[in-house]
């Protein structure tokens, strides 16, 4: 049974602490998170394949599928809105990314498919949902922009942003390290229900 209380995790997240998490649990994150969207996934995988060093250390890291709205001010970058984007677009790339990077937590929305669930089981990773569309709320937990890479080349939404976050959540564990996939389970049940209502 999923726990009701929220569990606070500090980054980098030790893989051992992921064992106690089950699909349906709620967590929050303290520390550093890295944004990776479509292009950044592709670029990172290319780096790994060519044995080039990434500009960030992703060992046991937390990544988020997100393309923020940022504005440069005198005091540095300011994030206006930064919720998750649809994770399923990264489905084809995620397994490879997980394998190379040794990340611990993925934050996104909308759920992910079989290949990611398999990789989560094999490499001990959890995939969490942040409420989609809640860009202003997400931005309120971002305390600082620590860095940004590939901005010129990929543009603002696709760049690799490094955020310092406090109590980032709520995050609902959607795929756990046993590979249980909540959104898939719910979709299968929904299809069964609908086919019993409409003949």
């Amino acid at each position: 049974m999923a726990k009701v209380e929220e569990i606070l995790l500090e980054t980098p997240v030790d893989k051992k602490t992921l064992k106690k998490l089950e699909a349906g649990d709620m967590i929050r994150i303290n520390g550093t998170i890295f944004t990776f969207r479509d292009k950044a996934h592709q670029k990172a995988i290319e780096f790994y394949k060519r044995k080039k060093k990434l500009p960030v250390d992703l060992n046991n890291a937390v990544i988020i599928h997100c393309g923020p709205i940022a504005k440069k001010t005198k005091e540095g970058w300011k994030i206006f809105s930064a919720g998750p984007t649809t994770s399923m677009r990264m489905e084809k790339l995620e397994e490879g990314f997980i394998k190379y990077s040794n990340i611990s937590v993925i934050i996104g929305k909308g759920g992910m498919g079989e290949s990611t669930a398999k990789a989560c089981r094999k490499f001990n990773v959890v995939y969490c949902t942040f409420p989609g569309g809640s860009g202003a709320l997400a931005a309120s937990y971002i305390k600082k922009v620590k860095d940004v890479f590939w901005l010129e080349e990929l543009g603002m939404p696709e760049a690799l942003w490094v955020f310092e976050v406090e109590n980032f959540g709520p995050l609902i564990v959607t795929i756990d390290i046993r590979g249980r996939n909540l959104t898939e389970e719910i979709k299968v049940r929904a299809k069964e229900r609908i086919s019993s209502y409409i003949k």
Binding site: F80, S81, G83, P131, G132, L137, I172, K187, R189, I198
Partner: protein, 287 residues
Amino acid sequence: MKQTELEQIITELIKKTEMFLPDEVVSHIKKAIKKETKIGKTILQSILKNINLAKNTHRPICQDTGTLTFFIQMGSEFPLRDKLKKALLNAVEKATKEVPLRSNTVDPITNKNTGNNIGNYIPYIDLEITNGRDCEITLLAKGGGSENMSKLKMFNPTDSLDDIKKFVVNHIVEAAGKPCPPTIVGVGIGGTSDLALKIAKKALLRPLGERHSDKTVSKLEKEIIELANKSGIGPMGLGGKTTVLDVHIEIGHRHPASLPVGVVMQCWAHRYGKVKIYGDGRVEWPR
């Protein structure tokens, strides 16, 4: 009224639309919170928190500020008719910097982002010429996640309304958490292929809770709402009673050989707004 004033009004419309949700959308979300438990409730509560935060801190509700779609009804004698297009484009560019909006205008061949939300055919401008001297501009800001869940099917004219119902409900279930449910679903029945999708998009602009004036269509709307919510997909596809906030159907006359059906989904962050500019310069903000 000068062009710069017109520009200012449209900039204001974009800002308001991106930062404040229409009251009836918020009240539908509040009602849904009462029905949900556990995960569904937590998600909707966070969403409500986000709505209030965006409103109070003047930030865009979602980082995907969408493709800006303007539905315009302009009187043929509207005094600023020759300035309207220029004013719209300038306002989009200005709002992109000031709100700020994310630039969502990418060349599909070179993948280059124009950086100002202006490009070929974008912003989307739908112009209808009416009688008189007034102009009403409705803005719909629609994100990529929900837009990717659009669907068109060319039915056989002998197919039944039940077949259409099944198609729409199955699509809502298949889309699951991807379009950020609870969604508002627009359905266009009839017209041509492109019209079916266009009237589906226009149907989103009907206030939530309002049914189609035709009895048969209104019944079909209610049946789709009931089935979608019984599916259990729930907020963000993580389970619950609220998969859709509403379903709006619009109908168009079809060719005897065709029966196109278009489905367009909008996320819970249903950002739309209106401004009416009268021929004498008065400005009204109907919400």
